[in-house]
């Protein structure tokens, strides 16, 4: 398998009155074809900033300071306006966090589909667009008659599914899902993710799945990257992160959700609050909240420990101590 998306040394700055704040710092990762990758971390760690810069949707004061983003060999950062317009949605599409509010409430669903086809030069024929839209909306499990409805007539889960159908309208190679189900109930969330999972196999696209809910990600993704304060601190297959995480932050995230079946003991979560990105300390960024911090963590930036494609950045990794859950 070849890499579909390659992100190298990406850095994104937010320009503020007090100088630039680096929200994403030197991040590299790649997604292979038909693979689903998860990006996990707390609010404000830069997950969404990465998602926006992959589509170049970020606006000032956000700026890509450094790095390259290549999708199928084309560099997204070097694209011009028109090229970018054609590229978005056609190659990469995105399901936003509040996707239910992305739909225009006063335009019927059918017309919103038609506009995608019209703007990307697929068809200008209303009937043909309707036929395509019917097919799409049925695969996400909404009856085709409902294309005549306005978005407010749908429930939250249905709106989310309609947005997923729209995101798949032009058969993109990569679907970015930025916390797609946080506002939904567990049962609906499950139904939607299951549908996406089946569609991924059927239509063969890759997924970048962004969430702070690691338990959900473990089931859904092949590979997981854990992000903290603008840096990817650990990257490994989902099962490795679950069974044997190396970075204390990954371990903390993994231990943040109570088990459904196992014994319930006292669980800690991760103490403290996410790092203020305008005041980055010397050494490791996780030092204040880490239960394994040593003197060196406050002085030196942890080196990257590479194991094949997997890596972690830590002075004092978990080792093999963490074989069992809870």
């Amino acid at each position: 398998m070849s890499a579909l998306l390659e992100v190298k040394n990406l850095s994104v700055d937010y320009i503020t009155l007090n100088g630039a704040v680096r929200a994403v710092d030197d991040v590299s990762f790649s997604i292979e074809e038909e693979q689903s990758m998860g990006l996990a971390g707390e609010s404000g760690c830069g997950k969404s900033t990465i998602a926006y810069s992959l589509m170049r949707l970020h606006r000032p004061p956000a700026l890509i300071a450094d790095g390259s983003i290549k999708l199928g060999g084309r560099d997204i950062i070097k694209m011009g306006e028109e090229e970018l317009r054609q590229f978005r949605w056609d190659q990469i599409s995105m399901v936003f966090q509040s996707a239910m509010n992305c739909l225009n409430p006063v335009v019927k669903l059918e017309k919103q589909f038609f506009e995608i086809y019209k703007n990307h030069g697929i068809t200008k024929n209303r009937q043909e667009a309707r036929a395509r839209a019917e097919k799409l909306i049925e695969i996400v499990g909404i009856p085709k008659e409902r294309l005549n409805d306005y978005p407010h007539q749908f429930s939250g889960g249905m709106r989310q599914r309609a947005v997923i159908a729209m995101a798949l309208a032009l058969k993109p190679k990569l679907l970015i899902m930025d916390e797609p189900t946080t506002a939904l109930d567990t049962v609906v969330q499950r139904e939607i993710l299951q549908r996406v999972y089946e569609l991924k196999k059927e239509l063969k696209f890759s997924i970048l799945f962004i969430t702070h809910d690691l338990s959900l990600m473990m089931e859904f993704c092949d590979n997981v990257s854990i992000m903290y304060a603008g840096k990817i601190v650990e990257q490994a297959p989902a099962q490795t992160i679950l069974k044997n995480p190396q970075h204390p932050y990954s371990y903390g995230l993994k231990n943040s959700f109570p088990s459904l079946h196992g014994d319930i003991g006292y669980m800690e979560g991760i103490p403290g609050s996410p790092l203020n990105m305008s005041r980055i300390p010397r050494g490791c960024r996780f030092q204040d909240r880490c239960f394994r911090a040593q003197d060196i963590c406050f002085k030196e930036v942890p080196p990257r420990q590479q194991r094949g494609n997997d890596f972690y950045d830590c002075h004092n990794p978990m080792g093999t101590l963490t074989g069992s859950r809870n």
Binding site: E42, S43, G141, S155, G156, G157, D185, T186, V187, V188, Q189, R190, E191, L193, Q194, Y197, H212, D213, L214, S215, L216, M218, E219, F220, Q239, L242, G252, L253, S256, F257, P258, S259, L260, H261, I264, Y266, M267, E268, G269, I270, P271, S273, P274, R325
Partner: protein
């Protein structure tokens, strides 16, 4: 064990008139809660789980006296809540408090945290000067906002989501509440922060004897934090009882569905949900005329007799009650096999 009931709800039914307020339109009524009863003991946490629109928040609002239930009654320490007026009402408002889902909008952005704590302490307890300051700091320390002098002067926007929820809990402590209705207190917070807030609530429960009604849709945290659980579907209590029994050995098909839908990293692949695909997934609107089991059109084991009546509660195990036509069969099957050691298989 003698446990003191602090709050109890008996056969509460809540109807909302959704149209028919004018002469011309046809009268339509939505039944949001149907015969809900429970007792909340001192120092206990009772979880209410269910999906959006099942009546969880209505339950909270009835308890806060935002709505008057159509039928049924509520008692606080044995006294009827809806008869409260004047001083008893003031006392009730002090003792029964609510935490909201959204910490970002439940604190006034223009006032410091100290101000949020100062008002209730002045109004309900009449503290002044140094004593007031000491009480405010005590509340902040209790919820882990340390050092209190530093955190108290901050405005809400300077705090993270978890800290805001803690500040809100500090306010509830300052008022001196006994019963706390928590309406999805952690669902807007990061997963890593959630446990901290839950542990704090646990501490208040254990050390100070506060009672919690924990409303959530996350069954895993319900199991972690609560002693008992109620599964609500379309305003009906379908299964309730001891949290471990319900989560480990659910009997009602809806409880099973909820549990199989919860994310569980121990499953290696996405497990298939047991739902019928051929029917409308929406929850049907429940009206006073509706009969039968509310879950029947989504239920994988529904039969024709499910449409006739909503079955009575069956105690399938000590402290586990189910309202399902299959509950009795389930009970006889399992009581026959009860000599065997309990199976420890994962459910769902």
């Amino acid at each position: 064990m003698d446990r003191q009931i602090v709050f109890s709800i008996k056969n509460v039914t809540m109807d909302f008139q959704i149209s028919g307020k004018t002469f011309f339109s046809k009268k339509r009524t939505l039944r949001a809660l149907n015969n809900v009863s429970f007792d909340l003991y001192k120092g206990e946490s009772l979880a209410v789980v269910g999906e959006s629109g099942c009546g969880k928040s209505t339950l909270c609002r009835i308890a806060m006296r935002f709505y008057t239930p159509s039928r049924g009654e509520m008692t606080y320490n044995g006294e009827n809540v809806h008869k409260f007026k004047g001083n008893p009402l003031r006392n009730y408002r002090q003792k029964v408090q609510m935490i909201f889902q959204d910490p970002f909008s439940s604190l006034n952005p223009l006032h410091s945290i100290y101000y949020h704590l100062k008002r209730p302490l002045q109004l309900y307890h009449g503290y002044k000067g140094i004593e007031l300051k000491a009480k405010m700091n005590e509340a902040l320390e209790m919820v882990g906002l340390v050092p209190p002098e530093e955190q108290g002067i901050k405005n809400p926007h300077q705090l993270s989501g978890g800290q805001k929820q803690r500040a809100f809990l500090a306010r509830i402590l300052a008022i001196g509440a006994d019963v706390i209705f928590a309406d999805e207190p952690t669902s807007m917070l990061d997963v890593s922060i959630r446990l901290g807030v839950l542990n704090l609530m646990n501490k208040l429960k254990r050390e100070m004897g506060k009672s919690f009604l924990y409303i959530t849709h996350d069954i895993a945290t319900a199991r972690y934090f609560s002693d008992r659980i109620i599964v609500l579907y379309s305003g009906h209590m379908v299964e309730w009882g001891d949290v471990d029994k319900v989560v480990k050995h659910p009997v009602h098909p809806y409880t099973k569905l909820l549990i199989s839908a919860a994310p569980d990293p121990e499953r290696e692949t996405l497990a298939k949900l047991e739902v019928r695909d051929d029917v409308e997934k929406e929850v049907t609107m429940w009206t006073p005329e509706s009969r039968g089991c509310p879950f029947r059109n989504r239920c994988p084991v529904a039969e024709s007799r499910c449409a006739d009546d909503f079955p009575e509660a069956v105690e399938v195990k000590p402290d586990q009650f189910v309202r399902c036509i299959h509950a009795k069969e389930w009970k006889t099957e399992n009581s026959a096999a009860s000599e065997k050691p309990e199976r420890n298989q994962p459910v769902g």
